[in-house]
Amino acid sequence: MDAMTQLHEEIVMTADAVRQAVDRLAQHIQADVTQPQNWVVIGIRRGGAVVARLLRDRLTQLRGITLPIGYLDITFYRDDLDTVGPNPLVGATDLAMDIDDKHIILVDDVLFTGRTIRAALNALFDFGRPEGVSLAILVDRGHRQLPIQPDYVAETLETQRRESIKLVEKGTGEFVVVRRLRA
């Protein structure tokens, strides 16, 4: 990370706030889970993967059932190949389960333009035909460019377009949401 971007960094959600937000998501979602055997949690790398894991753990505590979890890396589905930089980092997609006829809870940390979700939906449908997909988001920061709306939102945040809002690890297993002003 540049020195420039780190200059204006501010924590907008503490580790406790993140935990409470995940808890709110879990409470909302579990009310809708009538047939848990059909549900699958899928996190979008990299921030969404963290939220998906925390959410799945919380759902396990609340309902006593452990939903299958998978991870999507959407790098190969992005619409901005020309601007991703010369050496883009790619994470692994890990979907060990069959997603045909399953209900997917697609999880991401921050919802911004909607382009990541568009890419994730395309990626998901290369693996099968889910019965339905719900979108769960930790932070909705607005500025949508596509007609995409989340089904479950824990937090909404007023932001400037050129700010960056990210889930980052502070200490082991502690996650906070930071706001950075792009130089």
């Binding site: 010369p86 883009p88 980092l89 997609t93």
Partner: protein, 337 residues
Amino acid sequence: MTAKRSTLKRKHLLGMAELSRTDITQILETAASIREINYRDIKKVPTLRGKTIINLFFENSTRTRTSFELAGKRMSADVVNISVASSSVAKGETLIDTMITLQAMNPDVVVVRHAEPGVHALLARHVDTAVVNAGDGGHEHPTQSLLDMLTIEDNLHRLNRKNFEGLVVAICGDVLHSRVARSNAIGLRTMGAQVRLVGPPTLMPRFAEEALGAPVFYDLDEGLAGAQVVMVLRLQLERMHAAFIPSVREYFKFWGLSRRRLACAAPGALVMHPGPVNRGVEISSELTDDPERTVILDQVANGLAIRMAVLYRLCSGRVVVEKEQMTTDATLKGEGP
């Protein structure tokens, strides 16, 4: 996104000599993530939609050409294969004219195999299109070296290693005619491995030790002693226009790798071969088919992933050409697209 500085600013892949440790690590990481695509029911991602890749092969090739073709197609690029017999080169066109003509059709990547060492560097100077070296005579074959490194990396746990640092790799056989040996010696040394070159004096390039920084062994058993990875090279009979070896049978007797000879290497040593295999010449048929020791088919599978990673890397990002200097316009992204 942690954007590490890379020395690969130019959008070509000409040889291992131009790649830093960071470049190699990034390509291996990307390929390891890409691999999963090749085992899906739908083996296609839209990444290179609208990109055009031309495979221009002046030498025969089945596996490399097929591998590049599938790599492009699985990432949704349009791939055109040109084999020389049917091209205008047979009508007397010069290589540079062929390349300039192809460039006029605005492809994004041209993958070239040619018998003449250094051809790619020449072509890269004449065209803006990204050039990938798929083998230039006895010079370099970078994607082969990268796929070999990915295969070694997959097996590091078996060899009780965390990385390439200090790994002993013996490259055995016809080193003289082998671009695979050259690229691997360069690339593996960049990654910190200890490379040895093992072969008969007639098939060892002069000044190999000085040029490649790898000790030379003229005895197979000595060269194998303690080696954790054994790369067996194909005896390139088609390139031999002089008496390099007395006979193929004698070659096997002295230089062919068998289970018995492999006992000289470190326990559990990995056996690799770039293919196509001459069974009973440089390696015994029995060892070729031993899945416990030999990873030839893993090399082929990894080759596809490596070529997908290389094409992806060459097609992503915008290259801004400013006079002599080429810089890359890399936007530091926040949270994805």
